[in-house]
């Protein structure tokens, strides 16, 4: 187990290093941050001063070396735009994104699992067909369009929910959370549903496919032959086994929701990390872009690790030692 963990961590560090190099070169190739950030009427002297202030006068490899040295001391650089440590900026915005992503995932599981189970157990039923047709919509409607439609219907015409923003927040562990206040939950509802739509469809389809496959297995037939109640067969024998693919996919989906909920966050003016990263890319704020992507890589690695560990709990046949390679 320890060997396995150490190996995973080393792999993670290599990936992070490679990623930071790629982003450095990528941002350099796109353009010059000073051209974008500087006031158009700045004269040449001011432009040179700004280039120097941001450390962009050095050759690229030196800039990268400076970055690495500082990164090893835990300093991922200061944002060109906000003049604050990049990591601090990201962490400030993280609670907003985390609660949205978890909210969406919970909604997806609460709605997706029962519907998927139902559709799997009664594949020919009329309601099952409605569910499956609905899940196609969930997959194919573009997020920004659904988001705007939600706003138009529930905020502008019906006036039930606030259109944008985070609302009141409560404090927990020194951080601001929307889910602690009623106003915050009202603000969260639409963006969370918007993010969840795709996931609901995904969970429905995975569950349904899993159920249909598992129902034909010998151990299910045997359980039935033993005379166990249908409920016990469904929830113990079938449900537990179909959870493995669902856990994997939902885990990875959670990761990508945290990392890339850009569209939903900008449509709903939700001040999370997704909005930060897209704003940073627009002005080539390299320290923030690099720090953000490094964090995301680490997060994905951590999620994968957790998924693997969960596997071994759900399925005793999986041995971690054999999976590390």
């Amino acid at each position: 187990m320890t060997v396995y963990l150490v190996r995973r961590i080393l792999q993670a560090l290599l990936v992070v290093l490679a990623m930071s190099l790629i982003v450095f070169i990528g941002v350099y190739a796109i353009g010059d941050p000073v051209e974008i950030l500087i006031s158009p009427d700045a004269d040449q002297i001011e432009r040179e001063r700004a280039v120097q202030a941001l450390g962009l006068d050095l050759p690229l490899w030196q800039q990268y070396a400076v970055f690495l040295t500082k990164a090893l001391q835990g300093d991922l650089g200061r944002s060109f735009v906000y003049n604050e440590p990049a990591l601090k900026l990201i962490l400030q915005r993280m609670p907003a994104t985390l609660e949205l992503a978890f909210g969406a995932t919970i909604i997806a599981l609460i709605i997706g699992l029962p519907l998927g189970l139902y559709a799997g157990l009664r594949p020919e039923g009329r309601f099952s067909r409605v569910i499956m047709a609905g899940s196609i919509l969930g997959f194919s409607l573009p997020t920004f369009w659904v988001g705007l439609m939600l706003i138009m219907v529930f905020a502008v015409y019906l006036g039930w929910l606030p259109s944008t923003g985070r609302g009141d927040t409560g404090t927990l562990l020194g951080l601001q959370w929307s889910f602690l206040t009623w106003d915050g939950i009202r603000h969260m509802t639409m963006p969370a549903i918007n993010l969840a739509l795709f996931k609901i469809s995904l969970v429905i389809r995975l569950t349904r496919a899993g159920v249909r496959e598992t129902m034909l297995m010998d151990y299910v037939k045997f359980a039935r032959a033993k005379g166990l109640s249908p409920a016990r067969v469904t929830f113990v024998h079938v449900f537990k086994n179909i959870l493995i693919p669902v856990v994997t996919v939902v885990g990875l989906e959670l990761g990508s929701t945290i990392a890339f909920s850009v569209v939903t966050e900008s449509v709903f003016a939700w001040p999370g990390m997704g909005k930060l990263i897209i704003d940073s890319i627009n002005v080539l704020d390299r320290p923030v872009i690099v720090a953000y992507l490094m964090m995301i890589v680490l997060m994905f690695i951590a999620i994968n690790l957790i998924v693997d560990l969960t596997y071994s709990m759900l399925d005793p046949r999986v041995r971690l030692e054999s999976k590390g390679t």
Partner: protein, 529 residues
């Protein structure tokens, strides 16, 4: 102005007493702006959204009205006492939000801070650079000594927000952003700031000028255009800026919504390649078979004029901009003191354009690529598409390439393009576009830093040079107008239109539209009923 505001304040306060429930609502306003404010440090980043918020919290020696005319701010009056010395008489009895008194020491401290803000991506240092020495005559009189006569000193001072020496001696940008150091003399004080999300303001009841209408202001940032309009329609916010042109028709008909608009100071224009001499190829111009032309047709003023009159500016304004602009033939709109009288938007004349091309030796035209950004100016990509079709109609076969600003601006700066669309937001003095766009690129003078077509005309340069040391304001304005007229006749750039600035609000509000695009809390008040 003052009387009107007082009356409104009276109306507002009477309403407050009369109807306590509604009155409580009228005491606060929620605004939403399109562009995120990146810092509350007024000297960290020269950026319009930051400047708008800074004008809410701080004051300048010279403030500006909605038409960008200079007004006494923290200075009551100013004059050049000697050719090289400006004297500012300061306003007495002004206090910062924390109670500290404002004096000449604070002005001196502010000017010394400008070049010393660490990591600034775009500093205000240029406004203190001409000042060689600062002399405090008495606590309410300060003198700036310059190396040469500097007529633009009052204009420079409209950009410098004054800090308190005692409070801000060692204040860092981070402390400003956290709200702790965001202490000025302005009409509002900062209650809280959540970066990229919202700022909450509270009225400064001890403000020296007209009291702001609302006791509390929530200043939100909603970057997505459709979401901002929806938030206004839903009533979540009561006031928005940068109303998207696609929503204009709908909002004009909505009786819950009022709009405030004014012609702005931002010209959208085409820059042309003046860098390659007449006998060399321009990078994106070929003959009709796609072979090198062997010369740069843009060096011929007849070709430039032909390209200019081939553009139907009115059609672009009406159909692409949905009326949210006025056709232009120069940088500044009518009514601004350095507007060039008699230089009108070039009339649309495709036949005349063809004749000019033939005269210049291109009866069959040529091919050109027109470049531009697609995420910077209102409808930028659609404008260059329209122009591409108009040029093609006079025989200049045009391909159009729109790209993100991040990649576009670097290439434009290196003069990579033959023709490109770009915009310029002026201050109201014609010396501003002249210095930055029409003057020959000269590092020592700081000229032409945004002259991306590398236009150069000795007569323009000469007049600009004289005007920059002319203390007689009438003479100086004449020189600035004359230099702009020469550049316009020479078609140094092709002006297209000046954008209209549009704000949207619920009916119960009114707003003084500003031509400098700044969205400030103190400009919003309850509508008179």
């Amino acid at each position: 102005m003052t009387g009107k505001l007082r009356k409104l304040a009276l109306v507002a306060s009477t309403a407050f007493i009369g109807l306590s429930a509604q009155g409580a609502l009228a005491q606060s306003v929620t605004m939403a702006v399109a562009a995120p404010v990146t810092s509350l440090d007024p000297h960290y980043h020269q950026l319009s959204p930051n400047n708008a918020v800074a004008d809410t919290i701080f004051d300048k020696l010279v403030n500006t009205d909605a038409k960008s005319n200079n007004l006494p701010g923290l200075a009551l009056s100013w004059r050049a006492v000697e050719p090289n010395v400006w004297e500012f008489k300061l306003r007495p009895n002004v206090r910062f939000h924390n109670g500290n008194e404002f004096t000449a020491e604070d002005v001196a401290f502010t000017l010394q801070r400008l070049p010393n803000v660490p990591n600034s991506p775009s500093s205000f240092a240029a406004y203190s650079r001409p000042i060689q020495a600062i002399e405090i005559v008495d606590p309410l009189t300060i003198r700036f000594r310059t190396a040469a006569p500097h007529p633009l000193m009052p204009l420079d001072m409209t950009n410098v927000r004054i800090l308190d020496r005692e409070t801000h001696q060692n204040a860092t940008t981070e402390e400003f952003n956290a709200g702790r150091a965001a202490i000025g003399t302005g009409p509002y004080r900062v209650v809280s700031h959540r970066s990229g999300d919202r700022i909450e303001f509270e009225r400064n009841d001890n403000y020296w000028g007209d009291r702001a209408a609302f006791q509390r202001v929530i200043y939100r940032m909603i970057t997505n255009d459709a979401a901002r309009t929806a938030a206004l329609l839903a009533g979540d916010v009561e006031f928005i800026d940068q109303v998207p042109t696609s929503d204009l028709a709908k909002l004009r008909q909505d009786n819950r919504i009022a709009l405030s608009e004014t012609v702005g100071l931002r010209l959208i224009f085409l820059g042309l390649d003046h860098l390659r001499p007449a006998n060399e190829n321009s990078p994106f111009i070929t003959d009709n078979d796609g072979k090198p032309l062997g010369r740069n047709p843009l060096q011929d003023v007849r070709v430039r004029r032909a390209l200019s009159i081939a553009i139907d500016r009115k059609a672009i304004v009406d159909r692409v901009m949905e009326g949210a602009a006025v056709p232009a033939g120069q940088f500044l709109p009518e009514g601004v003191y350095t507007h060039v009288p008699g230089v009108t938007p070039p009339p649309f004349d495709p036949d005349g354009a063809r004749r000019l091309l033939a005269e210049a030796g291109y009866p069959q035209g040529f091919r050109i690529q027109l470049n531009g950004p697609n995420d910077r100016y209102v409808n930028d990509a659609r404008i260059i598409q329209a122009i591409g079709q108009m040029w093609t109609r006079i025989g200049v076969r045009t391909t159009v390439e729109a790209q993100p600003w991040t990649t576009f601006i670097g290439r434009a700066g290196r003069a990579d393009f033959s023709s490109h669309l770009i915009g310029w937001g002026s201050n109201p003095d014609g010396s501003h576009p002249l210095r930055n766009i029409l003057a020959t690129v000269t590092r020592e003078k700081g000229w032409g830093s945004s002259n991306r077509g590398r236009y150069s005309n000795p007569r323009v340069d000469g007049l600009l040079d004289q005007s920059l040391v002319e203390l007689d304001e009438a003479k100086r304005v004449q020189m600035v107008i004359e230099a702009q007229r020469i550049a316009a006749e020479d078609v140094g750039v092709i002006p297209l239109h000046i954008q209209t600035n549009i704000w949207g609000m619920r009916r119960h509000l009114a707003h003084d539209a500003r031509n400098d695009e700044l969205t400030r809390a103190q400009d919003v008040r309850p509508a008179a009923r």
